[in-house]
Symmetry: C2
Subunit: 402 residues, 2 copies
């Protein structure tokens, strides 16, 4: 049996393993240490009551002859698709057809699977630092060449740093696909309408597909930051959009997401919508019915209010981090339309060194920016998913380091 | 943007669409017709009470600060993995380590994704007739060459017909991977211990990987039919096994399954277990916590009893079909360790013609065997998932055709 050498050669996913390893080592040496964790990208507030109720009621329904449902529609139930269209798109002037929304078990699944629609030799561009799934899923498919010096030979990296305001400079080199995440993981920064317009225009001119990861759109509070790439004219011809209930509605342990693929996204005379339908119906059997009912409850008046209140809580934490760091003279970014704050390490300290400083001298766990790509070196990611008290305390401890 | 031409060129999934089209057309012409559907491969009995209760309770748990769970373990919760090992393997003398079981949202997902572990030019063998996912997932990855005359040029087809007792003749041609399903979809036949041993020995001699699809193992009642390929010595070195709660516990709309990959399955010095871990952790975020609680409830005393009672009900339907057809002189197969009965059409009538006869003269819907591959021509699949009454009535109507 011949194995997939590209998958076998993939470097291990070191980042969170290494974070964990250092934390465990520190705890072994300091068993009484009270660590404050601002490293996790996972929500912590319980599921909103309305969501929880719909979820459990639908589970009970499945135990009755009238309420039982077997295989659901491959691409999701209409009740959820229509709720998404009515609440996430229509109010923003974006018209999406029913068969352009695809329900899935996670944006990670969709983002990882979308590359199956691309030619084996398609050229992939990513912003740097970057959510590792874009890169790894393409590397596994053998599309990225060799890995050397923390870079894949066939990938195009677009650095996003404080120097360019975290807005990538579009490359002249040929590119087939650009992965773009806004609000961004890990930098916490978000693209404004005009910044995103510039990128869409570039993609249209160059015949580039944009995979737009909008997993964090629920945190957007700034009117000038689009919640959907389809708010930008022309994007319906060059972009697919991945959205998730994970971070916005606390679904990291529930698993529901959706991807939008307009039928107008066409390349080589074929439509990505058609290809995705064929892919999804062949490889999946849809998403759990009670999970889809839970997701639909996000769009009820009660559910929506509860979700917004949770988002505001996390955004409040982000503000505590951002303002605390800035008042103390640190350079810090993001954290306004995002649960992530991206801080510059002092005096060019390498990410992992400052990670160790925070761990050992402040008992605060963060994520070293270098783990997200070469351009993340010299930065750290802090997350707003802890409690308000712990967040305040963590910031105080960091400030005491000065 | 360059698209995946292998995916774009894939023939559309005609089978169930075409079945549906003919049914709709008949109903349009005969609006008063009372159709009996024995075509569906979907369960119909409600979720067992114990499962349903665990499912809804876990959903409620997620609404409490103490009970909330975010991201679960990538490969599944230990409570479910351990229940699987203790109930599905230990009693059959099969030792499986905790990190050899991978929880997923469906056997279809796993079966479709496993090909990512194979080299782009690995040679794939399938039994014929066949569950289309094995073929289509490899075709999408560009591994099967050209499609002509209902065959892919690079695939190896192993006919399974009444003439060889539905046991494939192992090929002399080089093969990297064999997909094997027992109890089989669509033929409803199951491999005995000695038949399966023969295939495992062949795989070990030839360095072939067996992807063993055991999605229907819950229906096995015959002691001589293994419920796991790992009951065959040596299989732990050459086989991965995909199992599902869909057909066995009524989870088609709930979505939970598992795949076993022993660490002893090694090729080219690498372990498929390691490769699958890398693949899963990169592309998925685990399965819904309440869904995993529901699946674990299958293994409680109460849940197990309820599940077996449902399985017995379906098997009773299968017996009604099998015995009715045989008494009337039809050749019929399967239906003993399986919810599927595979009947030979009378006097060599083509599948689709006899499908039309059943539809128009008996108002019974079945699935034409030819839709599952060239060697399915001249057969039909009937399923045991309708009610007992409807099943009896359908068989009576078929017999009246004589």
């Amino acid at each position: 049996m011949k194995i997939n050498r590209a998958l076998a050669a993939l470097p291990a996913g070191y980042l969170f393993q290494e974070v964990n390893h250092r934390v465990q080592q520190y705890l072994a040496e300091n068993p009484e240490a009270k660590l404050l964790r601002l490293g996790i990208g996972d929500v912590t507030l319980p599921l909103p009551a309305a969501v929880c109720r719909a979820f459990s009621e639908a589970a009970l329904e499945m135990g009755t002859p009238e309420g039982f449902r077997g295989y659901g529609p491959d691409y999701g139930y209409d009740f959820l698709i229509d709720a998404i269209r009515a609440h996430d798109y229509a109010p923003r002037g974006v018209k999406i057809d029913q068969d352009e929304v695809f329900i899935s078990d996670g944006a990670k699944s969709d983002v990882g699977a979308l590359q199956e629609l691309f030619a084996p030799d398609a050229i992939i561009a990513v912003t740097d630092p970057v959510y590792p799934v874009y890169v790894d899923s393409n590397a596994m498919a053998g599309r990225l060449g060799q890995y050397e010096n923390e870079r894949w030979s066939r990938a195009v990296y677009l650095p996003c740093t404080a120097e360019n305001g975290f807005v990538p400079q579009m490359p002249d080199a040929p590119v087939d696909v650009l992965y773009l995440c806004s609000p961004n993981n890990p930098t916490g920064t978000a693209l404004t309408r005009s910044q995103l317009s510039g990128i869409v225009d570039w993609a249209l001119r160059r015949d580039v597909l944009i995979v737009f990861d909008a997993a964090y759109k629920g945190f957007i509070r700034d009117q000038d930051v689009p919640m959907s790439i389809y708010e930008i004219p022309g994007a319906e011809k060059c972009a697919v959009e991945c959205c998730s209930f994970s971070k916005t509605a606390g679904f990291t342990g529930v698993r529901c997401a959706y991807t939008v693929i307009p039928k107008t996204v066409q390349y080589e005379g074929d439509s990505l919508n058609r290809l995705w339908k064929r892919r999804q119906s062949t490889k999946l059997n849809g998403v759990s019915y009670p999970v889809q009912r839970a997701a639909a409850a996000v769009y009820t008046d009660e559910g929506w209010q509860q979700v917004q209140s949770n988002l505001d809580y996390y955004l409040g934490n982000a503000r505590v981090i951002l303002e605390g760091l800035r008042q103390a003279g640190y350079e810090a970014f993001g954290g306004v339309n995002s649960p992530y704050v991206w801080m510059r390490t002092p005096a060019g300290t390498p990410s992992w060194d400052f990670f160790d400083t925070l761990l050992r001298r402040a008992q605060v766990v963060c994520t070293p920016g270098a783990g997200f790509g070469p351009a993340g070196e010299g930065y750290l990611r802090l997350t707003a998913f802890n409690t308000r008290d712990n967040t305040r305390q963590a910031v105080e401890r960091i400030l005491k380091l000065l």
